[in-house]
Symmetry: D2
Subunit: 363 residues, 4 copies
């Protein structure tokens, strides 16, 4: 299985480049009978759409999705769902200056060395614009998980550069362009981003994602663990450099008597340091994931680099870029978590459909 | 592909339980002609062996490996390499007390709910003893990577509970039971562990792994990224709750002008915040990975839990357990990184064998 | 990996329905640097196009392909190649009569029972029109195999109903609408088909495919054999009911002293009963494959069947159908063989790139 | 996924060589709660065991299986089932004569050219003795299919060389060493085999396999078809050169009005030319498969060949070989069919667990 497909049973294949004619994908393995319209996907795509505020790339894309197969009279048929999102605002001239140089921190150099050829326009295949495919696939997964298990996947921006945003409420998340759950910090974030843009620099971010209503039992020991697949899915998002489940790196400094979540009749847990996964299998608690996104590589600040002949030079990137890719990452991270959960929901019922969870319904 | 196999081309399949007759594995896809003897694997297994000091589990296992196939007259033949490690010191009576209760933080509960049945002896399939298979598979990968590309995969304990160990030298790592690269901190670590054991508690740890001599070009966009596969491999190790590549979570607070590694003729890089992976493809720099391991769940400190009928009770685990699973995790993390790198080395030459890296040999 | 993707390294994903907006596919894993234009694919699509003679379906489709990604300045970049073929002549009214009945020999019934829902228009996903995706993917594989190894994949119609066509010459194959290698039989085939069409009936066919210039060494024991993957690829073509490699079923009546191909210095073989595959690995001889295609299920002759309420009824299908699907199957079978060979070429060099075949270059 | 693993959810991994210490395998994905003892597997292994009559190889192997994991207190736990079959009677001296020459029709040459190294003892990995792993994995699949769906997988020898055996009764199959369903032909078969052995030659065979009680709905369009996976599984068996489903190659000469199985209320079918698979999905009828096995390559009749330096020579193989590998192939073919069916049973319920087949229970 090559690199542009993921998932065992809920299987997503992706194609497209930043300045090519279109992005598209194939979702294979979706159960039949799910009501699905373009708009179910469009709603999620609109959440990650560029140009929605001055704090993100000014590229103007309607990101209109066209479902090409797998849906008949408003319902999924169980066959492959193909979909397409045309690129509309690809200004390749913006990138002519960088075609011969490698942006520090960018995939320019590695693609070129690996393949001996690269589509430099807008980052080509390495562009974060590829995440439209993930969000589309995730929209279907979210809908199915919600309707079938009541599982809800939600995320929020937790840190922007050095600023910790705190958690406010889920309702707030979609009311501001930062996906902040805390309304109070928004003015400060705007100031922070304005300053950054003025400086021609970028910053990193942390996004937290939470899946609630996950039944106990999803995940496969020992390599196909739920948390291993989540880690892979998250790390595959552009710019992600770290993934935590539950307590994450804080678990290093915890004692066993503190970290191990005590159990109470219900069955339930007195805490959730494990982030809803024990031994690679969902525990029935919220699955909590946190990711680190590095600062955007395409910045105006001049930096030392080399050109395609290997000579020293400097580069300053002036195209339309997100000064913080983390700002638009929330719907993407949600999508990836939803896809992994749906994959494991299907895998679980394949093997364990006959099992009645001894202490609680595993649905 | 079910959960007990990983890798696309360097493919590892694992079986075995803590108190069953044996662990074993199958390594498929290894190139032919590699010199391989039992001892090449045994050397690595001995590094993770239990009972090597008072700070780890006192279970006595020789962990002797038997290669069953795939090697002829001392060389790999290109066919599947089967191997076996018999369990010798399985005292199931130790576990009778916990068969009816769920250890907080352990997979006891999730396995039972998922499968409706569980082998409670020693944690069954959830036991970290499964890592013998990983270490064996990793030993082969390490040998091949070293001989073919000069790639070296090494790790060390970076943090033990609240104690940061610092980096001393690679030579020191195998001279102490903690895999500390810094000899000076060892007495303090011993004291720390003695106190922990006395308290009947456990602690977490951080392990860092570094692969040097990795050629540019390994990795596949966009889901089969090198870093995504590393994240999955690491998160699949028992007790791991977080994975970082390069700057990891510190990247959140970095500016783009700080994080993006400037390039210099060579070609080379002025820094390595990206941890040797750009756009999911190795950059030719050291691949640097850091993982967080949670504290052991099996502790003597009494904790609230429920029994298999769902009733409230308490549990205190007195079997032979590592008070910090992180101590023995270094060879395991090295093994997983080696397996992922070898898989991608093969995947890369499958697709790009004809490519000459424009600026440097990608071997 | 779900059902609409095949191949390990040369990986093809397909979507689309007969009367939906479009068919499309994603080819992943193609090496970079291959010159590729729409026309390289179009040429092959035109060979299987409907409406090319009175002996095949009269549906009018230009089958124009649009490459959407993975190609930059006329060369493959190593990233996923997405492509699209719009449906233009979908007359769904033709099928309204059969929406409530199951055609004997057709997938109507099994899709409906499996998924609980079916797109009955033109056979939906079960339509042989899906083979446009295969032919497109095969066109890329053919081109790469030819340029890289000199491997050529060619096929011809060997039997039409009870008529054996014999082998004439490869040059003749594309000069007649039957893909007959023998010009002499064409008038007879036309008469046969005219009679069949008049009778409102259909017939089966045999197609032979031959790959020449296949190096020794492609294929993986023991389940991933070259012949096993060929068998799967061929049997996955609509209407195929049998697959033979080399002597095929005739091997039953052969003695070992007859079947086993003697070897001669060169190295070479005195015969090719094995069809170019020994132990699942290519021998360097021509790979010879033969497939049986059943007669079309959609016929005018009235037949007994049941309706969607399970009641007895009769059905007579009057839409536009191929009276013999085998006629257009030659380019499809070639495409599938090419895809499998390319997949194994990549798999072979992944594992064995360092091996020099002791007796002959395995390229 | 490398070549020694097959199946998506019921996943079998195999290792071992003819004269190595052992064969073994890992069955992953088996549902929990299945009662399983060594003897459930042993019974099937005994059916294919060598040395059971003078008509098969005289190698003496007890083929005793040891289950190493995945079973606890007599039931499967849902974790990987590892098992081992030690080789006991490997007389490598028998093969010293052929180590330097290639047997016509054998994998000797292709392994050597592919890998640059080969274990010539007893055919190494290419030996049909590998089928112990398949039969063991199939035994588990058979048991599960039987208990869960009432599905029964049975086979018989249908042709031996030029002799057609006809179908007698299922009861007879295990009463003679030929797996003939027809008792009357047994004396003739014995005579035929005696003559063949005396002549130092070998012959081919046809084996038919039938799965009854298969629910409607197993299989995935369009590449992961049930029949495509069956074709692959069958063609991967040593010596198989052809696979038919249902009417197979006879479908070429059938008219559509003859081949297409008419449907009757029930729902049912008036005939079964399709062999229980329509559009790649099981129809609820018997799944009927027929395979062609070529004559054994290791024969006493002298044949022309080349040696490892490429020089012309002759070879006469005198080791212990089956004069007709087809004789012992029946349990192997049954096993492969059972594995594929179980894989698809799991895949089907993963995607379609919520579907109620409109016209009949699909269980």
């Amino acid at each position: 299985m090559s690199g542009n497909t993921f998932g065992v049973l809920y299987c997503v294949t992706s194609f497209g480049e930043s300045h090519g004619p279109a992005y598209g994908g194939v979702v294979d393995g979706c159960p039949p009978g799910l009501e699905l319209a373009n708009n179910d996907i469009q709603r999620e795509l609109d959440r990650r759409k560029p140009g929605s505020s001055r704090h993100v790339t000014q590229r103007r894309e309607s990101d209109a999705v066209e479902i090409l197969s797998g849906v008949f009279e408003g319902k999924t048929t169980g066959t492959a769902i193909g979909f397409l999102v045309r690129n509309e605002d690809a200004r390749s001239k913006d990138y002519s200056a960088i075609a011969e140089k490698f942006r520090p921190g960018h995939a320019d150099y590695t693609y070129w060395q690996k393949y001996g050829i690269r589509d430099a326009r807008g980052g080509g295949r390495a562009s974060a614009r590829e995440t439209v495919v993930r969000v589309a696939a995730g929209a279907i997964a979210k809908k199915w998980l919600k309707e079938k298990y009541g599982t809800q996947v939600r995320g929020y921006l937790a840190e922007l550069g050095s600023k910790k945003l705190g958690f406010g409420s889920w309702e707030e998340v979609d009311r501001n362009v930062f996906f902040s759950s805390n309304a109070k910090v928004v003015p400060e974030l705007e100031k922070l981003m304005d300053a950054l843009r003025e400086a021609g620099d970028s910053c990193g971010a942390r996004v937290n994602v939470v899946a609630s209503g996950v039944p106990v039992g999803w995940g496969e020991p020992v390599y196909g663990r739920l948390d291993a697949d989540i880690a892979s899915a998250m790390m595959s998002i552009n710019a992600v450099k770290g993934v935590e489940i539950g307590a994450g790196f804080a678990a290093i400094r915890q004692k066993g008597s503190e970290h191990g979540d005590e159990m109470v009749p219900g069955p339930g847990f007195a805490s959730n340091h494990n982030g809803g996964v024990l031994g690679g299998i969902s525990s029935g608690q919220d699955v909590t994931v946190s990711i680190a996104l590095k600062p955007t590589s395409s910045i105006r600040v001049p930096r030392r680099t080399i050109d395609s002949r290997g000579q020293a030079t400097t580069i300053s990137t002036t195209g339309r870029h997100d000064p913080c890719v983390g700002i638009r990452a929330t719907p993407i991270a949600e999508a990836m978590l939803a896809c992994v959960l749906m994959d494991h929901a299907l895998r679980h019922r394949a093997q364990c459909a006959d099992v009645t969870a001894p202490l609680a319904p595993n649905r």
